[in-house]
Amino acid sequence: MTITASWYLVVAAILFGIGAIGLLIRRSVLVMFMCVELMLNAVNLTFVTFSRTLNDIAGQVVVFFVLVVAAAEVVVGLGIIVSIYRSRRGTTADDLHIMHG
């Protein structure tokens, strides 16, 4: 007998929570980006787990699309970070106060 789906879901929930905490408490934009990746992976794990539980390939197809979107997101996001760094000499969230009131 294999591991029940609940354990995978618990791991995914904790992983998502760690990613969310990191996104909220870290100030470096790069590390915040990595925390977003952690959260995406948690959701991917959930999709694969339900794909196995329900015996439906659609969950894995969705994970495939999430991978593609994550790659595109990282490319654009890192481009934005580089262009911010060029003009501001820093990549913490505190450097991005252009829209503060």
Binding site: M1, T2, I3, T4, S6, W7, V10, A13, I14, F16, G17, I18, G19, A20, I21, L24, I25, R26, L30, V31, F33, M34, E37, L38, N41, N44, L45, V48, F50, S51, R52, T53, L54, N55, D56, I57, A58, Q60, V61, V63, F64, F65, L67, V68, A70, A71, A72, V74, V75, V76, L78, G79, I81, V82, S83, Y85, R86, S87, T91, I98
Partner: protein, 249 residues
């Protein structure tokens, strides 16, 4: 945990526990490491653990893609940017200008986990009949099942994904390109990139120089981001600083 895992065979339980530990310890390492490079390496560990968890659930293709795309491409891109920008100095975790923000962040994160765990007990999957094929079969490999579904049921989404990738590449090029509009006070504005301008030839080399000493002069007085670079009227003497401080469009 032990009684529930006792019904499982020892290799399965061992593999799950080990990969879950890799995932969670790597994730904690990403959050707590001061050095972004070490954080990225911890991220590799997490992604590898997630790939192991995929493998345990018979998602073979996704496990391979996870390692190739995430570990091989995305994390390398992260490391590339970290080292290109030279921001691999340690971030100070101890001193926070908004100290209450960290406390609130941890509280909110724990609330997220609690909410997910509570919801997992309340709302459960309905088990609706599959429309896109089974996930595991005794005879057909996982990759064939995935490909069949991807190229029949989800063909439109697949095509749109290719458009998304093209858009992302174009966007990244636009973001990374330096806006180099030539404002020639002696003649008509050419709008050519600066390395095409014979008068200022070689100036482009300075822009791409990763040496931090020579980068210091690029930011000039472009502190006001409200101004577009192509609208700035610059005297001739400090022309190069203004023209090279572009931030894309």
């Amino acid at each position: 945990m032990i009684p529930m895992l006792a019904k499982v065979s020892v290799p399965d339980a061992t593999m799950f526990v080990v990969s879950a530990a890799i995932v969670l310890l790597g994730a904690i390492g990403v959050v707590l490491n001061r050095n972004p490079v070490r954080g990225a390496l911890c991220l590799v560990a997490t992604l590898f653990g997630v790939a192991l968890l995929f493998l345990e659930q018979r998602a073979d293709f996704l496990a391979a893609v996870q390692i190739i795309v995430y570990g091989g491409a995305i994390v390398v891109l992260f490391l590339f940017v970290i080292m290109l920008l030279g921001v691999d100095k340690s971030e100070r975790l101890g001193r926070d200008p908004l100290s209450w923000q960290r406390f609130l962040g941890i509280v909110a994160g724990c609330l997220v986990v609690g909410a997910i765990l509570v919801l997992a007990h309340i709302a459960w999957a309905t088990g609706t009949k599959s429309v896109s094929g089974v996930a595991s079969s005794k005879t057909v490999p996982n990759i064939n099942l995935l490909a069949t579904s991807l190229f029949t049921t989800y063909l439109l989404a697949f095509e749109v994904t290719s458009a998304l990738l093209v858009i992302a590449v174009v966007g990244a090029v636009l973001l990374a390109r330096r806006r180099t509009v030539v404002i020639d006070l002696d003649g008509p504005s050419t709008g050519l990139p600066r390395d095409d301008d014979p008068e200022h030839g070689g100036g482009y080399q300075d822009q791409t120089n990763p040496d931090p000493d020579s980068r210091g002069d690029l930011d000039g007085d472009n502190g006001d981001r409200g101004d577009r670079d192509d609208l700035v009227q610059v005297p001739e003497g400090i022309f190069e600083e203004h023209a090279s401080g572009g931030h894309g469009s």
